[in-house]
Symmetry: C2
Subunit: 147 residues, 2 copies
């Protein structure tokens, strides 16, 4: 499966570089950015180039930054011509999970379904999480001293 990150500016490039830092070099992962000096036509051409890099019958999963943004709209227009999967609102933990699922042999449909289930839990309020952990520890200690 070919995975292509598409965003405004350098978000997709940063995401790509961070992913290689966290998980090591990745095969068949590409990124395309829309930059202020470019038009949307150039963006669409660049995305199409990446689509054409896929082998015959290889699934394509596109991950965009923002619902209804220009990169999102460019991909949606190309979806009339190309049969690709497309998730939007990507973040680091979700892309990690997607790459791990791909290396475990899951197909694009399975990955999209699983990613949607995971999406909500990839964002956490850490201050609240730590406060809850501390409370749990205090309650444990109370239990221990009550015996």
């Amino acid at each position: 499966m070919r995975i292509i990150l598409v965003s405004h500016g350098s978000f997709s490039k940063g995401l790509y570089q961070t992913m290689e830092m966290v998980l090591g070099p990745q095969e068949n992962l590409a990124y395309v950015g829309l930059y202020p000096e470019q038009g949307v036509d150039i963006l669409k051409e660049n995305i199409e180039k990446e689509f054409k890099e896929a082998k015959e019958n290889e699934e394509i999963l596109v991950l965009t930054d923002l619902f209804y943004g220009s990169p999102f709209n460019a991909v949606v227009q190309l979806m009339n011509k190309y049969d690709v999967y497309h998730l939007t609102g990507i973040n680091v933990p979700l892309l990690m999970e997607i790459l791990i699922m791909r290396s475990n042999g899951k197909n694009a449909e399975e990955i999209c379904e699983e990613a949607m289930k995971l999406a909500g839990s990839t964002v956490q309020d850490v201050r609240k999480y730590l406060a809850d952990m501390m409370k749990m520890e205090e309650e444990d200690e109370e239990c221990e001293t009550s015996f």
Copy 2:
């Protein structure tokens, strides 16, 4: 309120640049990255520098890339010394919402609470969304022709 993006590699920088492209120049928004040649101590120093840029009594909200990653852990360690808010798993739509809420005068506690409610809906399966839209349109057409 000072908002600081912290990540492995260039994710935070890419996120920052994309945000300026989408929403225009942002005040009091900074980014710090952990790069392979650096240790975690340098990262912590760089984050602390950004904390110290906050005005007296100004709230600080840190947004990290990945639960239990090194940047996350560095921020958690600093939370022993600094009273900061911290969300992890940030993406483009969530940061946009956060910046808009900040400009509307919401405080960090309100923003964290609201961001956690929004988190799940910032990721969408576009192929499924388009199929649902198409189905709704077809149903509408059927209703129209039945009158």
